[in-house]
């Protein structure tokens, strides 16, 4: 009788342990899933901004070339309506960039900052200051999409 009780006690203890283990595993799994859903949501948001960013990056060369074109057009021709119309397209792309959350990075007369600027050359001018902008840079609220390419002063 006592032996039987002992055995049953042992069995009960084992079952108890198993139950606890399984229950803990179940709780963990549930928690994991809830956490996973949250992470997944964050990941989706991240993905969305990555998509926006890579889309912006694809557009940037177009606006770069537009700016180069604008520079190359002689002043006299800029009054022509066809040229004006073409330059309006540039404006359109610029506002599209804005709606994607991209803003231009300030350069001229700013202090060189490698977190948003990339130096391509040193020229005459105040040391460490940006003298000339070669290519526009863009950033969103969170990060730099592309640093601005600049020439910086080398001082006396």
């Amino acid at each position: 009788m006592t032996k039987e009780i002992e055995e049953l006690k042992k069995l009960l203890e084992e079952s108890e342990n198993k139950k606890n283990e399984y229950f803990a595993g179940w709780q963990r799994e549930k928690a994991d899933f809830i956490n996973y859903k949250q992470k997944e949501l964050e990941r989706l948001q991240e993905l969305l901004s990555t998509l926006k960013e890579s889309f912006t990056l694809e557009i940037l060369p177009i606006i770069d070339n537009f700016l180069l074109a604008e520079k190359a057009i002689p002043e006299a021709e800029k009054e022509s309506n066809s040229i004006k119309g073409l330059l309006l397209i540039k404006k359109q792309i610029e506002s599209m960039l804005k709606s994607l959350g991209a803003e231009e990075i300030e350069t001229i007369n700013q202090k060189f900052d490698p977190s948003i600027h990339e130096a391509v050359e040193e020229i005459e001018g105040e040391e460490g200051m940006i003298i000339e902008e070669i290519e526009k840079g863009y950033k969103t609220k969170e990060k730099v999409i592309r640093p601005a390419r600049v020439k910086i002063g080398k001082g006396k």
């Binding site: 595993g25 996973y36 992470k39 070339n65 180069l68 074109a69 520079k71 190359a72 060189f112 490698p114 977190s115 600027h117 990339e118 130096a119 391509v120 050359e121 040193e122 040391e127 460490g128 070669i134 990060k143 730099v144 640093p147 390419r149 910086i152 080398k154």
Partner: protein, 633 residues
């Protein structure tokens, strides 16, 4: 549980990875890129910057921008190879009192170990940022040909950065680990590592307990940059030929060419030609000049063939050195960004006569392998199962074929889709198909076909005692539940009377592999025609529902509807009834639409008379109900 990372501390680029949600994953740095340049600088303002920031100011500050210290770490200044490398550097170096190399940054003399530690410190901080936890345990990788002193120096760099370096392992070993080779049986593995600046080949003998490096070879200056340079040179030459202008003296134009070349190279990995457009690249007295060329993949392959051949020759020589036949290599692993180039992959495949392993991103595979090793070591230390290995303990099955029920028009309505992980359950509410229907029959189906009869019936049962009501009114909830051993329980409950009926299907879920494959194949073959059939029936169902609603509306509101409108609806109902017998889907859709508009007119009239009848509202709602309706026997 301690978070761990694996670090691929490269000559030019450093990458790091960790185990995220049980999966090894390369992590982005703070600037949002997986690739961190192995560069440290002291800016003119006296600030220390690491990575891409250091690279961005390099041109204007070459003396204080330190790169490529991996070439000197743990080596002697007097070493002939080191001397050769030192000649190429823009920054100052000298011999330290202990015979090692020192580099000058700002007004300080630093060792390559200290510079590497600065890079690792950034990795540590960025990883903390990303994972939200302090990082302690790491595994760092180094080339297989690093000697003891170089390995010790690498470890010291990690320790200075405040990391607990569990181990310094070979880059190719990490790659093999990432693929899980050697877990069961011994294998001879060749890692073909074509990076941005260097090419390495390593042959390993990997077994469950040991990893032995059999041979190493490579070239210190052969990499992706050489591929870019070939495109740049081609563009320069072509432009000179056609425009007579030499762009190589124009720093800005050269910069644009370099970017365009890199982009074209990347594009050619996925498409067969790349357009290189650089408007306003320069100008002369005739006005602005534009650069516009097309580069095809075959052109590119011809131009770069020599580089690829050189790498394959290195592989051949390395095999020869240990008198190993290429057929004796069990697995070839591609490592490094240059192995994205199709001609490189093809050359490796052709040489070995088999497909190399490339499913893990070759740029990340080393860091991923290091992270796996770090997790295994840490888990062992903490006496737990490595994260990501849990699946082997708790095996969960997936449903091989979809489960569903037969609904109005003999359609198979899927309740649980195939490939769903079990245990799982799903419930959906259905209704009756005719007025005063007092029982519904549930036919449980297994398979992917749209029509009920084309699937396997697992069993059927009848739920009776449904209170008599107009069609669409009773709510019958059908619930499918599969437990972990694949036992399916289907329960149907009349929500009105709470009457419940259920069926248990055991074992039938587990079909043989062949049967499952056959059923899947059948579904694929018949997918198009099934879809058509299903659409036809659904169209007819919609028409049927509308006819029912219209007739009921006319009857219930006889006193409120003008005779002309009534006749219009009646005519249209008759027309729709007629076309419904045919199999002309377009006609049925057209007539349904016409009737729908006519009845809407009446609906408006009724409401305008402000004599709303809630019942009617309900009836209209039922015709729009998305749920299919069960068929009455």
């Amino acid at each position: 549980m301690t978070k761990v990372i694996g670090i691929d501390l490269g000559t030019a680029i450093t990458k790091f990875a960790s185990i995220v949600n049980g999966e090894p994953k390369a992590l982005d740095n703070r600037e949002g890129s997986v690739l961190t340049p192995s560069i440290v600088a002291q800016t003119k303002g006296g600030e220390r910057v690491v990575g891409i920031l250091a690279q961005r100011q390099a041109i204007t500050n070459p003396i204080n921008t330190i790169s490529g210290v991996k070439r000197f770490i743990g080596r002697r200044f007097s070493d002939a190879e080191v001397q050769k490398e030192l000649k190429l550097l823009p920054y100052e170096t000298r011999e330290r009192s202990d015979g090692s190399v020192e580099v000058k940054m700002g007004d300080k003399w630093l060792t390559p170990i200290e510079i590497s530690a600065m890079i690792l410190q950034k990795v540590k901080a960025d990883a903390k940022d990303k994972l939200g936890e302090e990082i302690k345990n790491v595994v760092i990788t180094c080339p297989a040909n690093f000697d003891d002193s170089q390995r010790k120096a690498t470890k010291a760099a990690g320790e200075i950065a405040g990391l607990n370096v569990l181990r310094v392992i070979n880059e190719p070993t990490a790659a093999a680990l990432a693929y899980g080779f050697g877990k069961k049986d011994a294998k001879k593995i060749l890692a073909y590592d074509f990076g941005g600046g260097t090419f390495d080949v390593t042959i390993l003998d990997v077994s469950p307990d040991t990893v032995e490096v059999l041979a190493t070879g490579g070239e210190a200056h052969l990499g992706g940059n050489d591929f870019d340079q070939i495109i740049i040179n081609w563009l320069l030459e072509e432009f000179k030929k056609s425009q007579g202008i030499d762009l190589s003296k124009d720093a800005l134009a050269l910069q644009r060419l370099k970017e365009a070349a890199e982009k074209a190279k990347t594009e050619l990995s996925s498409s067969f030609e790349a357009n290189i457009n650089l408007p306003f690249i320069t100008s002369n007295q005739d006005g602005p000049k534009h650069l516009e060329y097309k580069l095809t993949r075959s052109q590119f392959d011809t131009m770069t063939k020599e580089l690829v051949t050189r790498s394959i020759e290195r592989v051949r020589k390395t095999l020869e050195e240990i008198k190993l036949n290429k057929n004796e290599i069990d697995e070839v692993i591609l490592v490094g960004g240059t192995t994205f180039i199709p001609s490189v992959r093809d050359a490796v495949k052709e040489f070995f006569g088999s497909e190399p392993n490339k499913s893990i991103n070759p740029e990340e595979v080393v860091a991923i392998g290091a992270a796996i090793e770090a997790e295994i070591l840490t888990a062992k230390d903490e006496g737990r199962t490595p994260e990501g290995d849990i699946k082997s303990v708790l095996l969960l099955d997936v449903l091989p074929l979809s489960l569903g029920i037969e609904t109005m028009g003999s359609i198979n309505t899927v309740m649980i889709a195939k490939n769903t992980t079990i245990p799982t359950s799903n419930a959906q509410v259905f209704s009756t198909a005719v007025d005063n229907q007092t029982s519904v029959e549930i036919n449980v189906l297994q398979g992917e076909r749209s029509m009920a009869t084309d699937n396997r019936s697992l069993g059927r049962f009848v739920l009776d005692g449904v209170a008599p009501a107009p069609r669409g009114m009773p709510q019958v909830e059908v619930k499918f539940d599969i437990d972990a051993s694949g036992i399916l329980t289907v329960t149907a409950m009349d929500k009105g009377t709470k009457k419940t009926q259920s069926i248990k299907v055991e074992g039938s879920i587990g079909l043989s592999k062949e049967e499952i494959e056959k059923m899947k194949k059948d579904a694929e073959i018949h997918a198009a025609e099934d879809q058509k059939k299903k659409e036809m029936i659904e169209t007819k169902n919609i028409a049927d529902n509308l006819i029912y609603t219209c007739e009921k509306t006319l009857k219930d509101n006889a006193d409120k509807i003008q005779e002309a409108d009534k006749k219009d609806v009646e005519d249209k109902v008759a027309e729709l009834k007629k076309v419904k017998e045919s199999d002309n889907m377009d006609d049925i859709k057209k007539k349904t639409e016409e009737l729908s508009q006519a009845i809407q007119k009446i609906g408006t009239q009724i409401y305008q008379q402000q004599q709303q009848q809630p019942q009617e509202k309900k009836e209209e709602g039922s015709s729009d109900a998305p749920e299919a309706e069960t068929e009455k026997e």
